[in-house]
């Protein structure tokens, strides 16, 4: 906390000088980068001839990767919307007053660990989607040729609606109720409504790798099948 009383420096010329150097360095980097590497350009767009694989730009490759495990309305719409909404409300649900304006991991373990988990999950999915997916969105390691044809899907099955509903209820029910039963601190820290929102968002986040695991380990396509949508 000593930082707030720390010495102040003039912006001109101390900081302005540093900023100026950064701008020059970045400009040089961009010019060299632009000279050495050409921006990608394939043949002209041809609606009748689809690309295989047709990949989204890298920053969306993570969402595209999720299409393997989730229906498009979840991977492409619900997950991004929940991520954006979840990010927006972070300041209003994280009421922990510690670590304001400094790197203090020890006082904010819960917040930092969960945020970093989501952050790394996002990059992990991008990595797999962008670098490891080949024709028909099959897994190809970097040294494998896209020429070799890979087998498509294994046999996939879904849980019956009743079991699926129970599984989801148990997952969220236990996730929300167990922590207060085991240690009351978390619950008191946030207050009841905040606590439920925090845990719901966190459980939704962990549900993504969990669903991926269920698919890879047990070939489960949907946890819940209904006549309107499948989860």
């Amino acid at each position: 906390m000593e930082r707030s009383k720390s010495k102040k420096h003039f912006v001109w010329p101390d900081l302005a000088f540093k900023e100026f150097l950064t701008i020059i360095a970045l400009t040089i980097i961009l010019i060299i980068w632009g000279l050495l590497m050409n921006a990608p350009l394939r043949e002209m767009a041809a609606p009748e001839r689809s690309e295989n694989p047709s990949k989204a730009p890298w920053y969306f490759a993570g969402l595209q990767e999720l299409l393997v495990y989730f229906d498009p309305w979840i991977a492409g719409v619900m997950i991004p919307v929940i991520i954006a909404a979840g990010l927006i409300i972070i300041p209003y649900i994280d009421t922990n007053p510690n670590g304001r304006g400094s790197y203090t991991f020890s006082l904010r373990r819960f917040a930092v660990i969960n945020f970093l988990f989501g952050f790394l999950l996002w990059w992990g999915l991008i990595f797999i989607g962008y670098f490891l997916r080949g024709p028909n969105w099959q897994l190809y390691l970097p040294w494998e040729s896209w020429g070799t044809v890979k087998e498509t899907e294994n046999y996939l099955w879904s849980l019956s609606p009743a079991i699926g509903l129970v599984c989801i209820a148990v997952y969220f029910g236990a996730g929300i109720l167990l922590p207060p039963l085991m240690s009351i601190d978390l619950y008191l820290l946030y207050g009841s409504l905040r606590y439920v929102i925090v845990m719901t968002l966190i459980l939704l986040m962990y549900a993504v790798p969990l669903k991926i695991f269920l698919r890879l380990a047990f070939n489960i396509k949907y946890v819940l099948v209904t006549s309107w949508f499948n989860l």
């Binding site: 906390m1 930082r3 707030s4 720390s6 102040k8 003039f10 912006v11 010329p13 900081l15 302005a16 540093k18 950064t22 970045l26 961009l30 010019i31 980068w33 632009g34 000279l35 590497m37 050409n38 921006a39 990608p40 350009l41 394939r42 043949e43 002209m44 767009a45 041809a46 609606p47 689809s50 690309e51 047709s54 990949k55 989204a56 920053y59 969306f60 595209q64 498009p72 309305w73 991977a75 492409g76 719409v77 619900m78 954006a84 990010l87 927006i88 972070i90 300041p91 209003y92 994280d94 670590g99 304001r100 304006g101 400094s102 790197y103 991991f105 904010r108 930092v112 309107w228 949508f229």
Partner: protein, 251 residues
């Protein structure tokens, strides 16, 4: 003689009217340099020591802003050579590459700076989170920041279609098909209340498929609507940094 000329120059009415302060290295002039300059005025006159430390700030917010300026600058030049019409767009890329002096470098810098901007804005968010800089009284500025991230993604996304090559066409196909699967407002989504002629995908593409209308819509969004929105949110973002207690740090 040079000194005499210099004194005459800096003492002239013209020079005084532009800079409004002297050049001696005094505290007062250092403060005025920031205060009386509209661009430097983004900064306070002085900042705490940790604001200088790259290992504290990572410099990612400032770099993201600079990359936005690079995008705006190179983007304007690209607009001189680009026609948002399917028959022209792809050939304009080829003109940029083979005919227009420095055209390929212009396009390369625009593309790579865009990628870098997405990367740096994500790192900026990570740094702000790790330093707990969204905590009161800075909550709302975090919200503005999230909006700016979304705008950056949308800017990149709309720009991706413009070269009109196979890469852009099929990437946008993948993305807009997902929109068609949105609940309620997508024609293939659950609880859909629309058809393929009035769903969200149709609104974005101006058609049921990616064609002339889609290219025009993406172009207009890319060059005016989204940058204008980004500029407004950036203005609020920078202003609120000052109002909410200055650069990240304990309050």
């Amino acid at each position: 003689m040079i000194e005499k000329f210099w004194n005459k120059l800096t003492g002239s009415q013209l020079c005084k009217s532009i800079f409004r302060h002297g050049y001696e290295d005094t505290t007062r002039n250092r403060a005025l340099q920031v205060r009386s300059n509209v661009f430097l005025h983004l900064h306070p006159v002085s900042v705490p020591e940790h604001a200088f430390k790259i290992r504290f700030t990572w410099c990612m917010g400032g770099i993201t802003f600079f990359l936005f300026l690079v995008e705006a600058f190179t983007g304007v030049f690209l607009m001189f050579y680009y026609h948002p019409i399917p028959e022209f767009a792809y050939h304009d890329m080829k003109y940029l590459e083979f005919d227009i002096p420095f055209g390929i470098i212009l396009r390369n810098i625009h593309r790579w700076a865009a990628h870098l901007m997405v990367f740096t804005i994500i790192l900026h968010m990570l740094r702000v989170f790790l330093t707990g800089s969204y905590k009161p009284p800075r909550e709302f500025n975090w919200v503005v920041g999230v909006v700016l991230i979304v705008l950056t993604f949308l800017l990149s996304f709309t720009g991706y279609l413009l070269p009109w090559d196979q890469l852009s066409y099929w990437a946008i196909t993948v993305a807009t098909n997902m929109m068609g699967a949105a609940p309620f407002i997508g024609h293939e989504g659950p609880f859909s209340v629309v058809n393929k002629y009035n769903d969200i995908r149709f609104v974005v593409l101006g058609s049921t498929e990616i064609g002339t209308n889609a290219l025009l819509r993406f172009y207009v969004m890319h060059i005016i609507v989204l940058p204008a929105a980004a500029i407004i949110f950036m203005a609020v973002h920078f202003w609120r940094i000052r109002k909410d207690g200055g650069i990240s740090g304990p309050l």
